[in-house]
């Protein structure tokens, strides 16, 4: 490419550089700041000394979070829900998407099943009717209330179907001629070929469940079953940490740790624990996400 070295071009480079640099700072600053407060002493926080980096490094906030609060249990809950949900959703989505991706000469009632799926993209019954169904099924206050109602995302189903559609039918025709039946074609040819697609859609589901809190608030009453995201809401937005610490005896806590812990730094530590798994894994998964967005964006 011809290199443009005019003044206006250089000026543009500078503007772009500064804008993007600012964007990077604005994007990363909140996360770094949360970390810094969570490992700073509460005296430093109270004096308003923390701007960017930790001041007066200490892990006492994390000690409180891991020994006292509901955070460890809810972290485990979140891991379990995410794992089970991903497996269930992936199974349901794959088995439904595969027939819908094949030619209608092979799939009985394909038009009917397609309509059943597509309608749900435009119309949802809403909170109350969904809640009543979950209640009548006796799922309230169980893990399945979080998993089953949103087990298949029609958007993900469309993504999965597009992946299957990209596998040429000639491949299957050849297998048919060689005497393979539908079962072997699906399990021995299609599934192994679509490992990348399964990974992408599985990640979609996993991230969704890890980050979700609303259905947990709706369907769960027993706080020992709460996922991490709901605990964050309780601790930060409803100020439950203070009550919890008071219940445990704030003074005993101070004795055990040999120093006082401000509930504010504990909140930051909780927040950081909820964000950090995503921050760690997202550089590895974002590529798959972008691919999925592109495939899904083609149609639907």
């Amino acid at each position: 490419m011809v290199k443009d070295t005019s003044l206006s071009s250089r000026l543009l480079d500078v503007i772009i550089f500064i804008t993007l640099l600012l964007l990077m700072i604005v994007t990363l600053y909140p996360i770094i700041y949360i970390f810094s407060v969570s490992v700073s002493s509460s005296t430093a926080y109270e004096a308003g000394l923390i701007r960017f980096l930790p001041v007066d490094f200490t892990l006492s906030a994390y000690k409180v979070v891991f020994t006292a609060g509901t955070v460890p249990r809810s972290f485990v809950n979140s891991v379990i829900y995410t794992a089970v949900y991903t497996v269930v959703s992936l199974a349901l989505t794959t088995t439904m998407a595969y027939p819908l991706s094949r030619s209608s000469s092979r799939v009985p009632f394909k038009a009917f099943f397609s309509v059943v799926v597509v309608v749900t993209m435009f119309f949802n019954a809403g909170i109350a009717p969904n809640y009543l169904v979950v209640r009548n099924l006796g799922l309230l206050d169980s893990m399945w209330a979080l998993i089953l109602p949103s087990a298949v995302s029609t958007y993900n189903l469309v993504v999965m179907r597009s992946f299957f559609q990209s596998v040429p039918e000639t491949l299957e025709e050849a297998a048919f001629i060689d005497g393979a039946n539908e079962i072997t074609i699906f399990t021995k040819i299609m599934l192994p070929l679509s490992k990348a697609a399964l990974a992408t859609v599985g990640l979609f589901y996993g991230v969704y469940m890890w980050n979700s809190w609303f259905s947990a608030m709706l369907y769960l009453a027993d706080s020992s079953k709460f996922p991490l995201q709901l605990i964050i809401r309780q601790i930060i937005m409803q100020n439950q940490m203070a009550a919890e610490l008071a219940a445990m005896g704030d003074t005993s806590m101070q004795d055990a740790l040999g120093e006082s812990v401000n509930t504010e730094t504990v909140k930051y530590a909780t927040l950081f624990i909820s964000v950090i798994p995503m921050v760690i894994v997202y550089p590895f998964i974002q590529k798959h996400f972008v691919k999925g967005v592109m495939v899904g964006g083609v149609k639907g």
Binding site: V2, A47, R102, V133, V152, I236, N262, M278
Partner: protein, 336 residues
């Protein structure tokens, strides 16, 4: 298109019974495919179509002991709840709050994500490009609950006086403002309705700008570089090239996304609003979906909140259909 029309005609000629027969024959031949679809089909019936049937509750005077079917019909030929909603004094306010947040989101996020895509496209170093893109996606992976948590902590205030010197209950923003001396007492931003929309939209932009830019960046990366070179030889400046080539390339994408966004203007979800709203900010923060939630689940008025939900869903379907029609006319691309 023509062949499709013919096929439809043909199908009508052979009639329903013949169609049924061929489908049954296919079913016999590929039982396995049917079996594969069965679990997904059952899911859709139970968790989508049964609730749709449950919307009957919107026309009933729901008595939990009787169930939806046996509950008596609501007054005014079943439309009592709809009439009550339309007569609610704050109804227009909730509708307007919903639309205002959706519109503000479009007004800010749309242009900003396009500018970001254009800027990233203009970067010369591939390595820097990748780094900027990767970092800009990060907020998309942070949960709404965590974002609301950050906002709550960063903006929190117990109204500490600047002269007090201790900022134990002040978030970073108030700490800074107090230290600089812009304010002499902490501001509880989240308790003040005047700040609600700004907070909501600013966090939307923070979370969504990088992610929304993906589609445009992908479209831009497909542009033939010779176009730019030809323009350079013709003496075009880079800004001119950005406008006359890059923007033109992504214009169809912009139009279809914009139209679709406008179609969704009334279907704003309750997630973030529920987390950020306080009773003191209801006048700005109560949107239709949070209103439905607070009545249906909060107060157990399943029949009334279903009616409001159905009303809203009806408008949404109409808006999406209109949006789809417009986008078809304008760009010959449509969603369905």
């Amino acid at each position: 298109m023509a062949s499709k029309a013919k096929a439809v005609e043909k199908k009508e000629k052979v009639g329903i019974s013949a169609w049924w027969k061929t489908e049954l024959r296919k079913a016999k031949r590929s039982k396995f495919l049917l079996l594969l679809m069965l679990p997904g089909f059952v899911y859709y019936i139970i968790f989508h179509y049964v609730p749709m049937g449950g919307l009957l509750i919107a026309f009933k005077d729901f008595k939990p002991a009787l169930g939806i079917l046996k509950s008596p019909w609501a007054e005014s030929f079943g439309f009592e709840h709809f009439i009550r909603f339309l007569q609610t004094p704050d109804m227009l306010n909730y509708v307007w709050n919903t639309i205002a947040l959706s519109l503000l989101n479009i007004v800010w996020l749309f242009p900003l994500s396009i500018i970001l895509a254009l800027f990233i496209n203009e970067m010369r170093s591939m390595k820097m490009k990748k780094i900027v893109q990767t970092i800009s996606y990060l907020p998309h992976f942070v949960s709404v609950a965590a974002i609301a948590g950050m906002i709550t902590l960063f903006l929190s205030s117990q109204g500490t006086l600047a002269s007090a010197g201790s900022y134990a209950n002040e978030g970073i923003l108030n700490q800074l403002l107090l230290k600089i001396g812009v304010i002499d007492q902490g501001i509880a931003f989240l308790d003040n309705p005047a700040y609600f929309r700004t907070i909501y939209i600013a966090s939307d932009v923070w979370q969504g700008i990088g992610w929304s830019a993906i589609v445009y960046i992908a479209a831009l990366s497909g542009v033939d570089q010779e176009l730019y070179e030809a323009a350079t030889l013709d003496g075009a400046t880079r800004v001119q090239k950005m406008w006359h080539i890059s923007v033109q390339v992504i214009r169809p994408t912009i139009v279809i996304l914009l139209v679709m966004q406008i179609g969704k203007i009334m279907s704003l979800g309750s997630d973030k609003a529920l987390l950020l709203q306080r009773e003191t900010t209801y006048e700005k923060s109560q949107i239709l979906s949070t209103y439905i939630y607070s009545l249906g689940i909060g107060k157990g008025e399943f029949d009334y909140s279903s009616a409001v939900g159905l009303f809203n869903a009806g408008i949404n379907v109409i808006l999406v259909l209109i949006a789809n029609f417009i986008s078809k006319k304008m760009t010959e691309t449509s969603l369905f």
